[in-house]
Structures are given as structure tokens and as C-alpha cells.
């Protein structure tokens, strides 16, 4: 580890020099000086709200720094808008994909630089050629239909559109910043992305990579810069550091084990699903017992989220039965399901969960109003106490619980969504990608809370695309593929290979050779998920 020093003005690559940024009373960045050299992957790490996205948005012209400047190859850039950054070859894949709803994927990708013929005529043939070529070049051609409307894309597909946007365009990219690009991708797309990043790096492009996933960081990064409370606290060589050192830098203390697990599952079946068929899943049967944590694994589009929504009463059930605590559940709306004791923290926080213009307090207590009200008047004191309790437990980083959720960093927003459902304490808690974008400290806290809930007898169904999480948390793993259950693994049998094999079951056969080798790099050692390894360390 070296103490950050102002680099010489001639340094190649993208440089942030003494950059500070404040939003009203919140100081998001304090005099950060950092260089991203060409042909290297620089990882940016830090807790939720440490200022990573803010730094990236300054580098890409979306925010203007309160103080400091941005240099490219030693020359100062005057970035007044994202266009300037784009012209200079600086691209970003933002944390939250921004999709234009009523136009096609192709137009989404090339928005702002659509191909045109004489005058300003749109060249549709050229547009089609380009998108087909780019999709094929990047290997997304089978997951992304260029004619699909933006409003009909899944979370993963949206992410892919953002990646495409960053990699295409007139000026060749010099710098590409990835802000938690894998948070809604499954293992499979992640691998493809990593290969892509490797190729980009070899082309001499400076890569900035923001992630909370240690595994990815160590796999990809050449250098790691750590932010804490808006200040740069360290810049280290990836080969010469350890996970615990990074954690200490980020959090300012050591973390004990990431996964805390004891077997507390009882025999009482809370959720019993039999032959459930909806528009997206077919003939699904599964059970979750009190105190048990069951994980649903699968690739993108396997139908896990839709299964969750159906259980939560938001999507119609075509056939099959759902039994909750021995009583048949016929939920025709989320309200019915919630009253019966099911809570679902959905996967897309902005679209499906958050009231962005309301406070943390309002967002946290939304489904616990009944507990807090007398007649119909909500008790402010009790409401505040409840919201504060969970904000503290989950370490939500905000000026106070009266801050608007809109102003929080992505990970902190995710914590608010979880807080809402944890505060309600349902009998069956369904968590769809609960730790999307959450930092390692808070992740540990969330796992702890899940474990506590299980101990108290809550049945937990976790949907996660992060395999270590699936394996570390679950008593049992149920794998879905293409809307059907392809297998169920007990904790003892659940390894990454086993889960992946089931997730890709009938796809896998013909081209196993093409995918299997690339698994090596990311496959952790078998003990990766045991209770006593510190902080999920699998390396």
C-alpha cells in the first residue's frame, strides 16, 4: 500500500486531481487524486456511499466537481456534459441502467448517435447492420433481440444495453468505467463480460471497475483504489494485497465471517408449492420449512423472479396450489399474500420498491403501518424508532432517516428496501437479489439478519445470482432453468459446479467445451462457503 501522491501532470490515462464534491450539506468526495492508466484495470472499492459512483459521474461529465479537475493524458478536460466526456473517449456503464422505454434495443444502444444518410434521414439498414454486428462481436446476440422494446427488457438485458452503449460510438473509447456491472448478471454473462474486459484492457483502454464482489476484483484488477467517506484511503497492487487488508481499508476494522450459519430448520412446513404453473414457470413444486433458508438459483430468465411475484400474489397462477402454514393460499393481490404472511423484497429497487421522493422513514415503515397506527393515526415516535433501528442495523449511510431516498447511494437504497421487509417480520420472507450492490460490511449484516430471522422461525426464500451467496446462505438450493425445476441440492451436495450444471442442464450438452474452461478462473475452492472461513474468502 502506498500513500496517494499527486501524479506528475504528464501521467498517461485519466486523472482526477484533488476532486471534491458536495451535495448541499453532504460532502461526497474530499480531494481525491487518482490516475487510471491505460491498459490496466483499476478497481474502485468502498462501502456504500463512499463516493465511487460520484467520482465516476464526475469523470464522465455528469456531475461537475465542487473543486479539482480532470485530466486525460495530462491535459485538462473541461467536462460540462456527458457529451464532452463521450467525445473524449470516456465511457461509463452506470450503476442503474437507463433505458428508453418505447424504442427498440437498437435505438437504445445508439441513442444520440444514430446512423444517418444525407440530411438527417435515419439509416435503418445501417442501424440494423451495426447492432447485429456489435451483438455478435460481443456475444450478446442470443440474449438480446435488437427489435425488442426497451420497456420489455429484463434487468440483465438492460445492463447489456448499457454495456453495448459504452462500447460503441464514433470515437474509440479510451477509458471505460464499469459501475457494478455484474449486480444483475448471472455467472454466465459475467464470464463473458470478464473476457470482454480483458480484451479491452489488452487494447490499451483504461478500465475502471467498481464492485463489491471480492472475487471479481481479484480476478480482474491490476490495481485497487479504496475510498472511505469520500476520501482516498489507499491504492494497492492487486497481487500484493489480501482480502482482509482491503476490508480493513474500506470499513476501518476487521470483519468476522461473512456467512453465519447454524442448522435451525424445523420440520414445520411453512410454504408448500405443488405443481405451480404460471406464464413463466411450469410445474414447480417446492417447500420451505420454518427456520430454513432455501435459495433459488438459475440463469437470467430462468423465471425465479416471476415465481416470486406469483407467490407474492402479483402474477396470476394458472394451475397448481400454494399452501402457507397448512392453509391453502389464494392470493389475488400482493395485499392478500402479505396478510397471509408473505413478504417479498423485489429485485428492482427503483422500479418495484422505492418511493424515491419520500424519506427513509416513510420507505421503511410502508408495510408496517398497521403496527404503528392507532385508529388510523400513525405514531410518529414509534415510526421513527422503527426506521432508526433498521437504519442503524443495516448501516444506512445518510444524514438522517429524514433524507429522501433519492439522494442515497445505490447500496444504501437497497438496504432501505430490505429494512422495509425485515421490519415487518413476515412468516415467509422472499428476498430477490437482496444484496445487489451492497457492500461487504452490510452484506455481512444482512446475512446475520437472515440467520437471526431463520433462528426465530421465519422461512426464507432467497433468489440470488451470486453463487457464493447461494451456497453460503442456503440450507437447500433449488435450481430453475427455463421455468422448470431441474434439481434440488442439499447443503452438503451444493457446489458451484453442481448448481451451474443444473442451471444450464439441457443447454449444456453440445458446447460444453466452450464454456467449461472459462469456469476455472471463477470457480472457488470447495471450502469457499463454509461457516468459518473469514469474510467469504475463497482465495
Amino acid at each position: 500500500m502506498t500513500t496517494p501522491e499527486p501524479p506528475p501532470a504528464t501521467a498517461l490515462g485519466l486523472t482526477a486531481e484533488h476532486v471534491s464534491k458536495s451535495f448541499g450539506s453532504v460532502q461526497a468526495l474530499h480531494g481525491v487524486t487518482l490516475t487510471f492508466p491505460p491498459g490496466r484495470v483499476t478497481a474502485l472499492m468502498g462501502e456504500n456511499g463512499a463516493g465511487k459512483s460520484t467520482l465516476l459521474r464526475i469523470l464522465t461529465g455528469d456531475h461537475r466537481p465542487t473543486r479539482g479537475r480532470v485530466l486525460l493524458d495530462g491535459r485538462e478536460l473541461h467536462l460540462t456534459s456527458p457529451i464532452d466526456a463521450r467525445r473524449a473517449g470516456i465511457r461509463i456503464i452506470p450503476q442503474e441502467p437507463e433505458i428508453i422505454p418505447h424504442v427498440s434495443v437498437a435505438e437504445n444502444v445508439y441513442a444520440g448517435s444514430l446512423p444517418r444518410r444525407a440530411g438527417r434521414r435515419l439509416d435503418r439498414a445501417e442501424l440494423h447492420r451495426r447492432i447485429t454486428a456489435d451483438l455478435a462481436r460481443l456475444g450478446f446476440d442470443r440474449v438480446l433481440d435488437p427489435d425488442r422494446l426497451g420497456s420489455r427488457l429484463t434487468a440483465a438485458q438492460r445492463q447489456l444495453v448499457e454495456i453495448l452503449r459504452a462500447l460503441t460510438g464514433e470515437t474509440p473509447p479510451r477509458v471505460i468505467a464499469f459501475d457494478e456491472p455484474t449486480s444483475s448478471l448471472s455467472e454466465h454473462e459475467t464470464e463473458a463480460l470478464f473476457e470482454l474486459i480483458g480484451r479491452l484492457r489488452d487494447l490499451g483502454i483504461a478500465i475502471v471497475y467498481v464492485s463489491h464482489r471480492m472475487k471479481e476484483i481479484f480476478h480482474l484488477a491490476d490495481r485497487i483504489a479504496v475510498l472511505r467517506d469520500g476520501a482516498l484511503v489507499g491504492e494497492v497492487d492487486a497481487t500484493r494485497t489480501t482480502e482482509s487488508e482491503l476490508v480493513r481499508l474500506m470499513v476501518g476494522r476487521d470483519l468476522a465471517g461473512l456467512f453465519v450459519r447454524q442448522h435451525v430448520a424445523t420440520e414445520r412446513v411453512v410454504l408448500d408449492v405443488r405443481h405451480l404453473t404460471t406464464d413463466a414457470v411450469r410445474d414447480v413444486s417446492l417447500t420451505v420449512r420454518a427456520g430454513e433458508v432455501v435459495a433459488l438459483a438459475g440463469l437470467i430468465g430462468a423465471g425465479r423472479s416471476e415465481l416470486a411475484l406469483a407467490l407474492a400474489g402479483d402474477l396470476p397462477i394458472r394451475s397448481g396450489t400454494v399452501t402457507l402454514n397448512g392453509r391453502a393460499l389464494k392470493a389475488r393481490s400482493p395485499r392478500d399474500a402479505i396478510e397471509a404472511g408473505i413478504g417479498l423484497a423485489p429485485e428492482e429497487r427503483k422500479a418495484q420498491a422505492l418511493l424515491l421522493h419520500r424519506t427513509i422513514r416513510d420507505n421503511t415503515t410502508l408495510v408496517s403501518q398497521r403496527r404503528l397506527r392507532r385508529w388510523r393515526f400513525v405514531s410518529r415516535t414509534r415510526e421513527r424508532a422503527l426506521a432508526q433501528e433498521y437504519a442503524d442495523r443495516l448501516r444506512v449511510r445518510a444524514p438522517s432517516i429524514e433524507a429522501e431516498v433519492r439522494t442515497l447511494s445505490g447500496g444504501n437504497q437497497q438496504k432501505v428496501v430490505l429494512a422495509r421487509w425485515l421490519a415487518r417480520r413476515p412468516e415467509l420472507l422472499i428476498l430477490d437479489e437482496p444484496t445487489r450492490g451492497v457492500d461487504i460490511g452490510a452484506k455481512a449484516e444482512i446475512y446475520q439478519i437472515i440467520a437471526d430471522l431463520a433462528r426465530e422461525g421465519t422461512a426464507v426464500l432467497v433468489i440470488s445470482s451470486e453463487l457464493p451467496e447461494v451456497l453460503g446462505l442456503a440450507d437447500r438450493v433449488v435450481v430453475l432453468q427455463n421455468g422448470r425445476i431441474t434439481g434440488e441440492l442439499d447443503r452438503a451436495d451444493a457446489t458451484e459446479e453442481a448448481v451451474l450444471a443444473l442451471a444450464m442442464a439441457d443447454d449444456l450438452a453440445p458446447t460444453t467445451a466452450a464454456t467449461t474452461p472459462s469456469l476455472d478462473a471463477t470457480t472457488p475452492s470447495p471450502d469457499a462457503t463454509t461457516t468459518d472461513t473469514p469474510s467469504g474468502a475463497n482465495r
Binding site: S22, G24, S25, V26, Q27, E47, S81, R228, D229, V251, G252, R253, D254, L255, A256, G257, V260, A312, D314, S333, P334, R335, A337, I338, E339, L344, P346, A351, Q352, A353, L354, L355, L356, H357, R358, D362, T365, L366, V367, Q369, R370, L372, R373, R376, F377, V378, R393, R395, R397, A398, P399, S400, R420, G441, A444, E445, Q448
Partner: protein, 347 residues
């Protein structure tokens, strides 16, 4: 695990924050709200300006006049605020008031001058029309703007049909209607009391009850509200029913003020007035945002402005120009405070 007890990263609270305002002023600003603050400033400017031009402007009599003149539009603005917070719009409020006005006068006349029956019938009619609006929107899946635009025409036509297009009855020989139009309680006109009470009730509903929370939630993000178990349909239909009922109350006051049931005259254009007041008062037309306090301030500002211009004897052409300019000025000043970047459409 130990992390819970371990010292954690410093909470932002503990860090020194530069640019912070003195705590007292800050709390005050926060509790009044930035939007409201600039409305108050604009109101102060209007009051000082017209008050210095003509001292009678600030007389108690004239303040009551302003209040009375603003009551009908004010009532509609209050319920419009609720509808807008839900993320919808009700363009038919004026027509609903006209219909209720006619109903109140005709039932009053035909029941041998029974004010309670007349008023009751009008309120029922208003609630029914509101429910119809809600049902068309929810179950007919018609966009609220279009549905109530259709209502604007249909309810006006209905009022005209029922009344044959004529002013109906005469109610000012009945003490109840006289009390409504000219009475006072504790020195304040009945009309103003009604506005104050309705506004206070809606304010309490929105701010202190879970119903209000749910309304803000469904207006802010309807998917989130649905997944949080809020019965969207019930709330939306209720919001329209409330709007219909309060619009009927406005119609009854219209009858009391003019002495007879007016199918169109006096209620046309109220929809724009109420939407103007709500929007100026800080409602986001996308939903999820707005307060009754802000709306009432906007009602007061617009009422004072109109009265002041008339007191100054300014002709109606200049009044139009002045109203437009002041409306823009009030918002521009307010936005200057936010120092938002001037890119794209403002929220």
C-alpha cells in the same frame, strides 16, 4: 457475529458539514418547506405592493372578500391536490360543481324549500359522479386526463339538460343558504370556515394517517405501492369520490352565493384554476408530491393578486398579462433557490 458491536464507520452525522445553516433557521425552513417559503415571499410582495397602493387592500373587510372569492376555487384546489398526489388529474371538477349547484337548487325547490334535502341531494350526486369517474378510470382503463375531460363535457351537458340551461330556483329566502353565503362565525365568513375546515381535514388525512401515507406511496411509485400491499383501486376511487363530494360542496356554495342553481355560469374554468393552484403550491403532476399547505398558499396568492389588480382598477387585459407574469415569476424565484442545473424538463 461481532460486527454489530464493533466500532463502525463514522456516521455522517458526526462529521463536520461545511455550508450548514444555523440550526434554528434550518429547522424552520425545513418545516415550512422551500416551496412554501417562496410562496410566502411572493404573497408578502403582493400584500405590501397593493397594501401600499391602497390601504383598504389590507382592511379586514377586504381580506374577508378575498377569502370568500377564493373559497370555491380553493375547495377544488384542495381536492385536486389529493388527486394530483395520486398521480392523476380531475378536469371535471368545475362541471361537477355546476351539476351539484343545479341539483341543490332544484331539489330545494321541489321539496318545498328544504335546505337539508337540497344540500344532501347535491352531495350525494357529487359523490356518485366522483365514483363514476373513478370507475371509468380504473375499470374502464381510461387515462384520468381523458376520462375527466370527457366528464367535463358530459357533466356540463347533464347540468344543462336537467336545468334546461336556465338558472334554477331561488334559495336566498332560506336561512341555511343565507348563512352559507353571508353568515359569519366568530367574525369570519361561513364560506371561509368551510374552506379552512375542509383543508384542515384533508391535511390531517394526508399527513397524520396511514391513508395519507399510502396515497403518497401510490402516487410516487405505483408498482412499489402495489407490491407493498396497498389496494390501489380502493384509494384511487375514494380520491375521486372525495373530489366529487367536495366539488358538490363548492356547487352548493355557488348556489348560495348566486341565489340560484347555475348549470354553467360560475363553474366554468374552475378546473384550470384548481390545477394552477395545486401546481403552483408544489404538487408534482407526476404524482407523489404536494401539500395542502402549499396549495392553500397558492390559492391565497392568486386570490390576493386578482383582488389587488381589481382594486387598482386594472383592466382585464392587463390582468391576464400580469397574472401570467407573476405566476412565472413566483416559480422562477422558487427554483433559483434550488440551484438546479438547467438541463431538460424541470420536475
Amino acid at each position: 457475529m461481532s460486527a454489530t458491536e464493533a466500532p463502525s464507520a463514522p456516521r455522517p452525522k458526526d462529521r463536520p458539514e461545511p455550508g450548514r445553516r444555523p440550526a434554528g433557521l434550518r429547522t424552520l425552513v425545513a418545516s415550512v418547506g422551500g416551496q412554501n417559503l417562496s410562496l410566502i415571499a411572493a404573497l408578502a410582495v403582493v400584500v405590501v405592493l397593493f397594501g401600499s397602493l391602497n390601504p383598504n387592500f389590507l382592511g379586514w373587510d377586504n381580506i374577508q372578500v378575498i377569502g370568500e372569492a377564493a373559497t370555491i376555487a380553493g375547495l377544488l384546489a384542495v381536492v385536486q391536490t389529493v388527486v394530483i398526489i395520486c398521480g392523476a388529474l380531475d378536469i371535471s371538477v368545475g362541471s361537477q360543481a355546476g351539476l351539484a349547484s343545479v341539483v341543490s337548487a332544484m331539489v330545494f325547490t321541489s321539496t318545498g324549500s328544504s335546505a337539508p334535502l337540497g344540500i344532501g341531494a347535491a352531495l350525494l350526486a357529487g359523490a356518485a359522479v366522483g365514483l363514476l369517474n373513478g370507475a371509468v378510470i380504473i375499470h374502464g382503463r381510461v387515462n384520468p386526463t381523458i376520462a375527466t375531460l370527457a366528464g367535463l363535457a358530459a357533466y356540463k351537458g347533464l347540468a344543462q339538460l336537467v336545468s334546461g340551461g336556465r338558472a334554477q330556483g331561488f334559495v336566498l329566502n332560506d336561512p341555511v343558504f343565507v348563512f352559507l353565503s353571508r353568515g359569519k362565525i366568530a367574525g369570519l365568513p361561513t364560506m371561509i370556515w368551510i374552506l379552512v375546515l375542509v383543508a384542515a381535514a384533508v391535511h390531517v388525512l394526508l399527513t397524520y394517517t396511514d391513508i395519507g401515507r399510502n396515497i403518497y406511496a401510490l402516487g410516487g411509485n405505483d408498482t412499489a405501492a402495489r407490491l407493498a400491499g396497498i389496494n390501489l383501486n380502493k384509494y384511487l376511487i375514494s380520491a375521486y369520490a372525495l373530489t366529487g363530494t367536495v366539488a358538490a360542496l363548492a356547487g352548493i356554495l355557488l348556489t348560495a352565493r348566486t341565489g340560484s342553481g347555475q348549470p354553467v355560469s360560475g363553474s366554468e374554468g374552475l378546473e384550470l384554476q384548481s390545477i394552477t393552484a395545486a401546481a403552483l403550491g408544489g404538487c408534482a403532476l407526476k404524482g407523489g408530491k404536494g401539500t395542502i399547505g402549499g396549495t392553500l398558499l397558492a390559492v391565497a396568492l392568486l386570490g390576493a393578486l386578482q383582488n389587488g389588480l381589481t382594486v387598482q382598477g386594472i383592466n382585464s387585459f392587463w390582468q391576464n398579462v400580469a397574472q401570467g407574469l407573476l405566476l412565472v415569476a413566483a416559480v422562477v424565484i422558487q427554483q433559483r433557490r434550488n440551484r438546479e442545473r438547467a438541463i431538460g424538463l424541470p420536475a
